[in-house]
């Protein structure tokens, strides 16, 4: 009986040591607010004016991302919080394109698409003269091409371009856009 008790306590001690070792990896959630802009203004993009479309995201500004930057093992997911208005009289399908190169400029949504840029979010219908808000969980159903963008997300710096279909007749007012990246870190 005494021997079993000794084995029990030794096993328990071993478990505690293993437990401590296992805790060096974990999943963290990083958020980056993209809109409204630094002046508190909504972002407006349209087929007529695409000059303000580039939204640069720098996850390295987040202290948690900066801390774990060199220890990222996997980008688990990306989600969004979005509040966007379609003021036109016809509905639009909202998209967010992710472009790794932050130095590029596109004069129109069509040129963006022609550059073979890929959307990270697509398929969100915004009815005419309506504001749509989607939260973190709901946004997951619109996320696409995540596997292709994992390396870019891991670097932490990229550009997002909001656009919509039809390309030749859209106007979107983005009151709020937050990028939510879930990643696993470890030594």
């Amino acid at each position: 009986m005494k021997r079993i008790r000794t084995i029990y306590w030794m096993s328990l001690a071993a478990v505690m040591v293993m437990l401590a070792g296992c805790l060096i990896t974990g999943t963290v959630v990083i958020t980056a607010t993209v809109a409204p802009d630094d002046n508190g203004e909504s972002i407006i993009v349209s087929n007529l004016d695409f000059s303000n479309a580039e939204l640069e995201v720098n996850l390295t500004d987040d202290p948690t991302f900066a801390e774990h930057r060199d220890k990222i093992k996997n980008i688990d997911n990306i989600g969004f919080y979005l509040s966007a208005e379609n003021p036109l009289t016809s509905s639009a399908t909202f998209q967010l394109f992710l472009v790794p190169d932050t130095s590029l400029n596109f004069d129109s949504a069509q040129l963006l698409v022609d550059s073979l840029a890929q959307p990270i979010l697509t398929g969100l219908t915004i009815p005419a003269q309506t504001t749509v808000t989607i939260e973190w969980n709901e946004s997951m159903q619109y996320v696409t091409n995540l596997a292709e963008f994992k390396d870019v997300l891991q670097k932490g710096v990229f550009s997002l371009y909001p656009a919509a279909i039809p390309r030749d007749n859209f106007r979107i007012v983005i009151d709020s856009l937050v990028v939510i990246v879930t990643l696993t870190t470890g030594d």
Binding site: I7, L12, V15, G26, G79
Partner: protein, 178 residues
């Protein structure tokens, strides 16, 4: 896929019983499932069934099947995200939990198995994993144990990483046979 999973669960339960000696206990349990270092999950619940039988010496085996779900993670200003649901089946080897005996029976265990994880927006994964922890059984009658168990789960995940959680469950085991 579902059919092969059912067969594997059946094998996990039946094969060990063929080498079991003495009484065999059938148990149910329920409790809390707490994510460890996972900001995208919150505490949820877990339920399970298991079979406990003597292996040899001070060792006891416990084939088990658990159904768990994490709670929704909440971040102020962006909303919440549904927690994952987890189905886990495997075998535990226990040290110090004699079957069908009256008294307080502390034990430690180590186990291996398969973790099936699902969540909207994530790929469903079937990964191997392992678990360990302490527990104690209170034998109130030769055929009845009240069981309290802490299980530290380490389930394989993408990118050579793992997802960890702790399950704390209470349950009852009923022994049949001599």
């Amino acid at each position: 896929m579902k059919r092969s999973l059912s067969w594997m669960v059946l094998l996990v339960f039946l094969v060990p019983l063929s080498v079991a000696a003495g009484p065999v206990g059938f148990g149910i349990s329920g409790g809390v499932l707490v994510p460890i270092a996972q900001e995208d999950q919150a505490a949820g619940s877990v339920f399970g069934v298991k079979i406990r039988a003597k292996l040899f010496g001070p060792l006891t085996m416990e084939p088990n099947l658990h159904f768990g779900s994490f709670g929704n993670a909440e971040i102020t200003g962006v909303g919440s995200r549904d927690g994952s649901s987890i189905k886990h089946y495997g075998i535990d080897i226990l040290l110090g939990a004699p079957v069908s005996k009256i008294g307080i029976k502390p034990y430690v265990f180590i186990g291996g198995g398969v973790y099936n994880t699902k969540r909207d927006g994530d790929e469903t994964t079937n990964r191997s994993g392992w678990s360990f922890g302490p527990g104690f059984s209170l034998g109130v009658r030769p055929e009845i144990d009240i069981d309290l168990k802490g299980r530290f789960n380490i389930a394989g995940s993408d990118g050579s990483t793992s997802k960890k959680s702790v399950g704390i469950t209470a349950g009852v085991i009923y022994y049949v046979g001599r």
